[in-house]
């Protein structure tokens, strides 16, 4: 049997008509009458699909087109062209029926009513999504317990801390137990304990209800903890779509060397040592730690030899390259292959 896809996207494109302002007062007057318009594609003919029950990390730098894609998938924005099928529906065309089947959490925007108690918001949302009492009790009691928000229910949202609010937001998005959950920066600004709790919870929901989760985040540790698969976006194009592991295998080859010297040399001088070799140096000025990113493992000992020859080493470490660095490297190069 063919597995049902939760999300199917083909040649999806979204263009924005932007205008550039001319500079200065004179330019502003001219703008009053004619403007320089230009069409900017925020999402550039992308295609992908997500299976029911998958947890996918959707990553990219600011302005790469992440939010635009999410907004098209949730029916907020109409695509310029291309085909979207989410939960078997076209999000924008059948918006009201469609949103019944998804849950959305925007990390920087509240779903809850600011002035009233959390449970009042829940009650209203329960009616909005037409959830029966029996369903609500069975499902939400569990959610409330797992997220540990029982004591927060009678407080108005404006009195909650960010971490408390985020947990309530998550619960609010799950009131109708949607098979598909969109999370846009859900852990932004949260402390480690809350982050861990939210991750645990998402895993559990995914296992229990086979909920599909699409997650955008700046915090790669979220993705490492949750997602088997990542889709990486750059300037509106998908530059990588696949398992997080194979990304690591392919790009994680290489090491990071950290040196501390007895007498601190200039960064240029150190860089000169490995001139002609694919080695990238960085300097942490506060701690005077010199790090070298080396892609080719065979170059590790040569680099060490050269450095040891030139300077007296006080301390040295050899590290695996972190996911964050892998991704930074990919963005610097602009493509995966």
């Amino acid at each position: 049997m063919k597995m049902k896809n939760a999300i199917e996207v083909e040649n999806l494109r979204k263009e924005f008509k932007g205008y550039s302002s001319r500079s200065g007062l004179k330019g502003a007057f001219r703008d009053l009458f004619t403007r320089n318009y230009k069409i900017v594609p925020a999402v550039n003919d992308i295609s992908f699909s997500v299976k029911q029950g998958e947890m996918v990390g959707y990553i990219g730098e600011n302005g790469a087109g992440k939010s635009t894609t999410i907004k098209m998938l949730t029916g907020i924005l109409t695509p310029t062209s291309g085909r979207i099928m989410v939960n078997g529906m076209n999000p924008h065309q059948e918006r009201e029926r469609f949103v019944q089947t998804i849950g959305v959490v925007f990390g920087q925007r509240s779903q809850l009513w600011w002035d009233i108690a959390v449970q009042e918001s829940f009650r209203l949302l329960k009616k909005v999504y037409k959830v029966s009492d029996a369903h609500y009790n069975e499902h939400m009691n569990h959610v409330i317990k797992t997220l540990d928000i029982e004591p927060l229910l009678d407080k108005p949202v404006r009195k909650l801390s960010l971490g408390q609010r985020m947990r309530c937001e998550l619960a609010a998005a799950l009131i109708h137990n949607p098979p598909l959950l969109f999370l846009d920066e859900p852990t932004i600004g949260l402390d480690v304990l809350v982050k861990l709790k939210i991750r645990e919870f998402l895993k559990e929901i995914n296992e229990k209800y086979n909920t599909t989760i699409l997650l955008t985040t700046h915090d790669l540790s979220d993705i490492e903890a949750l997602c088997q698969r990542v889709i990486m976006l750059d300037e509106g194009n998908i530059i990588y779509d696949g398992a997080l592991n194979s990304l690591k295998e392919k790009w994680g080859e290489g090491k990071e060397l950290q040196f501390q010297f007895l007498k601190d040399p200039e960064l240029n001088a150190v860089q000169n040592l490995t001139r002609g070799m694919p080695v990238y140096w960085e300097l942490d000025e506060k701690k005077m730690v010199f790090s070298a990113m080396i892609e080719d493992n065979e170059l590790v000992s040569r680099t060490i030899a050269k450095v040891a020859e030139a300077y007296q080493i006080r301390d040295m470490k050899i590290n695996e390259i972190s996911t964050e660095e892998i991704i930074r490297n990919i963005y610097e190069k602009g493509s995966v292959s």
């Binding site: 302002s21 007062l25 502003a28 007057f29 703008d31 009053l32």
Partner: protein, 263 residues
């Protein structure tokens, strides 16, 4: 001083950026003036004069009152309320300038923008459609110029005062709205103060509102003698000075409040 002039410039640019607003604004002001013109024409009926103003003077009065309003009017009270409620004002206070002065300059930037791109072309359009009578006497223009600058100051001071009250009231949007309504009526925008019954005029003499609209409009429509005009401008100036006091008092109280509550 440079930073304040820069602020005027920035505001000017911001106003230019919202151009849809600009086009519709002129249209709406023109409709507004037009509707009041017809209302007044109907009120005059066959009378040639009411309270010493002819129909043409009245039309001129209405037109100039609205066009002057474009210059002195601003929303800084509402902006201050938002900045205070969202806690942004604490950031403003650690910057190396006077917050109130900065707000005034923002208002001035807006005002100058509207004066040149709104009032002047708007007045031209209006003068083609309605029987408005301009004077070409430079002395009248000079007095008018001084007078609307003072209008701007009085109106801005009142806005600052209402804005500052946000520190003490939880939500002052009602107060801001009430203030606007009162100013529209008692400043002489809707109808000249001289149309009110005598006892009401007596009370209004002791309020700053007529310095906002009535005085400059009367000067422009030649409704005042030269003597009366000088006297009126002097009154405006006195109000500008008097209003400094409550602003300073409330502002220093507000800053104390801010320190205690942490914004």
């Amino acid at each position: 001083m440079d930073k304040y002039i820069e602020m005027i410039r920035i505001r000017f640019l911001m106003m230019l950026a919202y151009r849809t607003n600009y086009y519709t604004g002129i249209l709406i002001y023109a409709i507004n003036i037009g509707a009041y013109y017809f209302l007044w024409a109907a009120i005059y009926g066959h009378k040639t004069q009411i309270e010493g103003l002819s129909v043409v003077q009245m039309t001129t009065y209405v037109a100039i009152a609205w066009m002057a309003r474009a210059f002195y009017f601003n929303n800084i009270d509402r902006e201050m309320a938002v900045e205070i409620m969202e806690g942004k004002v604490a950031v403003e206070l650690i910057r190396p300038y006077s917050y109130l002065m900065m707000k005034t300059m923002q208002g001035l930037g807006e005002g100058i923008f509207r004066l040149f791109f709104f009032s002047v072309p708007g007045m031209l359009i209006v003068s083609f459609i309605f029987p408005v009578k301009f004077t070409w006497n430079p002395a009248v223009w000079g007095l008018f110029a001084v007078s609307i600058v003072l209008s701007f100051l009085i109106n801005t001071q009142l806005n600052l005062l209402t804005g500052i009250t946000t520190f003490f009231l939880f939500n002052n949007s009602g107060l801001i709205r009430a203030k606007r309504v009162v100013i529209d009526l008692f400043s002489g925008l809707l109808l000249p103060i001289s149309f009110f019954p005598g006892w009401a005029q007596g009370i209004m003499k002791y309020l700053p509102f007529q310095g906002i609209s009535y005085i400059p409009s009367m000067i422009f429509s030649n409704g005042f003698t030269r003597q009366a005009a000088f006297h009126a401008i002097l009154e405006q100036a006195i109000w500008v000075i008097i209003l400094v006091l409550p602003i300073q008092v409330l502002w220093s109280l507000a800053k104390k409040q801010l320190v205690i509550q942490g914004g």
